[in-house]
């Protein structure tokens, strides 16, 4: 943390909720990237809260176009930079889990397949939070959202979380990493590394949402940390497809601790939690966590 830049390229006055995990992820990403970037962002929480005309929280060049095309816009930016010979400026695409896993998947896949020289950062709060907490492909199994509500017949999300980092690895990206805002030193290190590699590189940072996860505003980091300490969210990087876990929690905690810290999982039965524990155990085995 001693080497963490003190320059703030994301200005306060933005309209993100008090305790917003995502705005913290933007702040750290920009610290790691520095000023020589052009950010192409998708519609979403971080776009809407950072750019209410005539104000902007961005101290780097920034463009927002639509929900599904951050990767395509960033591709255009990247090629224009190449045409201009501006080799010191990095094209960075930024989107939430919605603009990445779902509506943004085509543009992202295209950019990845073409080998565009860009860095794609996905800030993952596990639902379409900007429009009021609707599920996305990244919503984990069991979570309450407004489109996977808890009722008499259906109780929360019934599909597992879409593994976007794995999809990126399958596209042959030279560097793919997962991160958490509870581990900002690790996150910034990964951003720096991803930006230094000729793209397309991908970093996926999990960031809790206060209203969406049904947590208190002061618990954002605590909850994000629990995700990692229980093995529900694994921090790793994959260089040339070779996976390296960057943090292995000693004495991995039961996932119930993580689930019970959030209101969106309040309805889960003991059987539900046991089923989730089983999946987490398999995941940890796969990554060699224990």
């Amino acid at each position: 943390m001693k080497n963490m830049s003190e320059i703030e390229l994301f200005a306060p006055g933005h309209r993100a909720c008090a305790g917003c995990g995502c705005s913290l992820s933007i702040r750290h990403a920009l610290k790691a990237l520095g000023k020589d970037v052009i950010v192409s962002e998708a519609t979403g929480c971080m776009e809407v809260t950072s750019s209410p005309y005539p104000e902007t929280a961005w101290r780097v060049p920034w463009i927002h176009v639509a929900f599904e095309n951050a990767a395509a816009v960033a591709s255009g930016v990247s090629r224009a930079l190449k045409a201009l010979g501006k080799t010191n400026v990095k094209s960075v695409a930024l989107a939430g889990d919605g603009g990445t896993a779902d509506i943004g998947m085509q543009a992202l896949s295209g950019a990845m397949e073409r080998g565009e020289d860009m860095l794609y950062i996905c800030y993952d709060n596990e639902a379409y939070m900007n429009t009021g907490i609707q599920r996305s492909g990244a919503t984990p199994f069991g979570a309450w959202t407004t489109t996977t509500p808890v009722g008499k017949v259906k109780r929360g999300e019934d599909r597992p979380k879409k593994d976007v980092p794995a999809i990126m690895i399958a596209h042959g990206s030279p560097y793919v990493a997962t991160a958490s805002i509870a581990y900002p030193v690790d996150f910034e290190k990964k951003i720096k590394k991803a930006a230094s590699i000729k793209g397309p590189t991908y970093v996926h940072v999990q960031a809790p949402c206060v209203p969406g996860w049904r947590i208190e505003g002061n618990k954002t980091i605590e909850v994000a940390r629990l995700a990692v300490l229980t093995g529900a969210w694994v921090l790793y990087e994959a260089e040339g497809g070779k996976i390296n876990v960057t943090f292995k929690p000693a004495n991995r905690r039961p996932v119930a601790e993580y689930l019970k810290s959030q209101g969106r999982y309040r309805h889960l039965s003991e059987q539900d939690i046991a089923a989730i524990q089983k999946v987490v155990d398999e995941q940890c085995k796969k990554f060699g966590i224990d």
């Binding site: 943390m1 963490m4 003190e6 703030e8 994301f10 200005a11 306060p12 006055g13 933005h14 309209r15 993100a16 909720c17 008090a18 305790g19 917003c20 995990g21 705005s23 913290l24 702040r27 950072s50 750019s51 005309y53 005539p54 104000e55 902007t56 929280a57 961005w58 101290r59 780097v60 900002p184 206060v210 208190e216 505003g217 002061n218 618990k219 954002t220 980091i221 605590e222």
Partner: protein
């Protein structure tokens, strides 16, 4: 204020014109005697409304009172006034 082509904004970071400090219910206050200057509060502030230091300096114009700083401080040097006082 002159409207520019395509709604482009040419003053970077002018969101500072909007003081989100007005959102606050509880106000974080540092007990300087306890503070070790670790910088964790600064590192985890989403605004940011904290300047790194021993003790840190708060910019109350923007602090939304989320309380992350108080929750994460390893020596419990920060209290949320209006909530944590006994």
């Amino acid at each position: 204020m002159k409207l520019k082509h395509g709604a482009v904004i040419t003053e970077p970071g002018n969101s500072e014109n909007y003081e989100t400090g007005g959102w606050r219910t509880f106000k974080p206050v540092v007990d300087a005697s306890k503070c070790t200057g670790c910088g964790i509060c600064w590192m985890f502030c989403p605004e940011p409304a904290i300047k790194k230091g021993k003790p840190p300096v708060y910019n109350y114009k923007y602090c939304k009172g989320c309380g992350i700083c108080a929750n994460e401080c390893p020596v419990k040097a920060i209290t949320m006034k209006g909530r944590d006082e006994k």
